[in-house]
């Protein structure tokens, strides 16, 4: 048998049920892998005792014949999810020492399904970033290295970079992520793993530290499509504590998996062929089109004419919502307080926020404050929400003709840490293929599809109709089966 830590969710679940190993053995194996993976800096807090307690409960449940869907499966949890009794910081100093007295709905569902927690995963501060370089707890290092022998430390993507690095390094079998403009899909693509952002409203936002509320969605990150389906089933469902939660039933996605795409139409949006697209990305996209045909699908070229404006729209809407959401960090109710000598209340607010927020967070709060301020609101924010309506309409019209869309996930493979961090705009351009689906609230998934010339993973993205996660998972499965992606980073940590 292979190592336990080589297994994903389905492998652990089935091996545990089949008596190949106990849940305790699984938890011990992953706790040891986490302890041995510190060089990746993927965790902010390690919680081996939580994983062990869940494992012991799973072993007891098995003996009693009361197994739950994720019994015996330990997970990594992005530090954006409030976990009762465990520090939650969104990777920011302003939430330093914050220990929630309540549980996020998504983690409550996962733990209720029998899963345990290996720890809280590092991320870009307040989920603002595409490289994990904005964390107050240091960069996460991707386990991948270029094949040129240079050993440059690479970005694991962001904002869910702790999640992606930990899964790719096989120190967790799967993890939660959140995606506001690509924060599940881009890191998944950079590290050769799978990740799905479901339809906006599928997963409750209750207890997830808010960034941009009309965009934020939780989702699973895992080895493969099946594991994502299993985990998404456990995370999804109506929650009265989130006013935008969708009151719809949760399909049996794992049972519905099928890579047979006969009778399905796959759209290829011509506007995603952007200027300066690396030839390798384009070639991979063409390969993906062939795989879809091979799976029985008909390929249809479609047009999403407002794609070009999606990034600029996003970088008005998301900072606007962030500036409002992050107004709550005032040094009064939780987290950091900086009270200079003789300071009044207003001075305390300003000093606390100056000391607690990182540069990228401040930048976005400032942009958001400006575009919402008197005299500029209509020119920026209202205009952006109108363009957003046009972007959503483009997708609606495309989905009258096709079932899913196929695009690259990111415009490049992973870049080196420090390579793009000096220019915020250049960093923002990394989200060019993921942001449009976020603006329209659509389910979208990245699956690993190949390696570039430097031996780094590249991903393809499937975008689906609202609530058609099954179509997205199935299209992704068709790629997964044909790509046969088995590459793994060599262990150096």
């Amino acid at each position: 048998m292979s190592e336990i830590t080589d297994l994903g969710i389905a492998g652990i679940r089935d091996g545990f049920r089949g008596g190949e190993f106990s849940a305790r053995e699984v938890a011990d194996a992953f706790n040891a892998a986490v302890a041995g993976g510190k060089a990746l800096n993927a965790f902010i807090v390690e919680t081996p005792e939580h994983a062990l307690a869940a494992a012991d409960a799973a072993d007891k449940a098995k003996a009693a014949g009361e197994l739950r869907p994720l019994s015996g499966v330990p997970l990594g949890i992005k530090d954006l999810f409030c976990t009762e009794g465990y520090q939650t910081t969104a990777a920011s100093h302003i939430l330093g020492g914050f220990v929630p007295t309540y549980e996020s709905t998504v983690t409550a569902k996962l733990f209720g399904a029998g899963a345990g927690m290996l720890g809280k995963l590092n991320m870009d501060q307040f989920a603002m970033g595409s490289s994990n370089e904005t964390s107050a707890f240091g960069n996460v290092i991707s386990p991948w290295r270029r094949s040129d022998g240079g050993n440059a430390a690479l970005a694991p993507g962001g904002s869910s970079g702790g999640s992606s690095a930990a899964i790719a390094a096989r120190i967790v079998p799967a993890a939660t992520g959140t995606d506001t403009g690509g924060s599940i899909r881009q890191p998944a693509a950079f590290t050769g793993i799978s990740g799905i952002k479901p339809t906006y409203g599928r997963c409750s936002r209750f207890g997830i530290v808010a960034f941009a509320s009309s965009l934020d969605q939780a989702g699973p990150m895992a080895h493969d499509v099946r594991d994502c389906a299993i985990m998404l089933e456990a995370m999804s469902g109506f929650d009265p504590k989130d006013s935008t939660s969708l009151d719809v039933s949760v399909p049996k996605w794992e049972a519905g998996l099928s890579s047979d795409l006969k009778g399905k139409k796959v759209g290829v949006p011509k506007e995603y062929r952007v200027d300066n697209m690396p030839a390798e990305i384009d070639a991979l996209w063409q390969q993906g089109i062939q795989w879809m045909k091979d799976a029985g699908a008909e390929i249809v070229e479609v047009s999403l004419p407002h794609t070009h404006y999606a990034l600029a729209t996003y970088y008005i809407v998301a900072p606007a919502e962030a500036s409002s959401n992050l107004a709550r960090y005032d040094g009064v109710r939780y987290g950091l307080r900086d009270l200079p000598d003789g300071a009044n209340l207003q001075d305390m607010y300003a000093a606390t926020r100056a000391a607690g927020f990182g540069p990228e967070v401040k930048r976005r709060i400032m942009i958001g404050t400006y575009v919402l301020s008197a005299g500029f609101y209509d020119a920026y924010y209202t205009k952006a929400q109108k363009v957003r309506a046009l972007i959503a309409r483009d997708f609606r019209q495309a989905f009258e003709k096709v079932d899913v869309l196929l695009t690259p996930t990111a415009p490049s493979a992973a870049f080196a840490l420090g390579e793009k961090s000096s220019d915020p705009l250049e960093m923002y351009l990394n989200d060019v293929f993921t942001v449009p689906a976020s603006l329209a609230g659509l389910p979208a998934m990245s699956v690993p599809a190949g390696l570039d010339a430097q031996g780094l993973p590249l991903g393809l993205q499937i975008i689906g109709r609202p609530l058609d996660e099954q179509g997205v998972l199935n299209g992704s499965l068709a790629i997964e089966e044909r790509a046969g992606f088995t590459a793994r980073p060599g262990k150096w940590w």
Binding site: Y200, S214, R337, R363, A379, A389
Partner: protein, 95 residues
């Protein structure tokens, strides 16, 4: 539209973020870069288009007007930087 140092100070003040002269100097070109870039939206014809309100159609739910939560003062105060007598404590507001 571009911002100058005075505007950046005003935005920082509205954002309740203390800034130094050095911060302001660095932020002026950064913010102008980003604002200049998003101004491309001006090229999009949005006449007659309603601003998007909800990405997925969803109705606002009503619930019974009854108490469903509360009586958790200590939990609410548990993370306060300073709590006194069952309240959040802040610097003196009225002289």
């Amino acid at each position: 539209m571009s911002v100058d140092a005075a505007t950046v100070r005003k935005i920082a003040s509205l954002s309740r973020i203390a800034v130094t002269d050095g911060d302001v100097e660095a932020m002026v070109p950064e913010l102008n870069n980003i604002l200049g870039w998003v101004e491309q939206l001006g090229k999009v014809d949005t006449d007659g288009i309603e601003p998007l309100a909800a990405v997925i159609p969803n109705h606002q739910r009503l619930r019974e007007d009854i108490v469903t939560d509360g009586d958790i003062r200590d939990k609410v105060l548990a993370n306060a930087p300073q709590a006194e007598h069952g309240f959040f404590a802040v610097p003196k507001v009225i002289e």
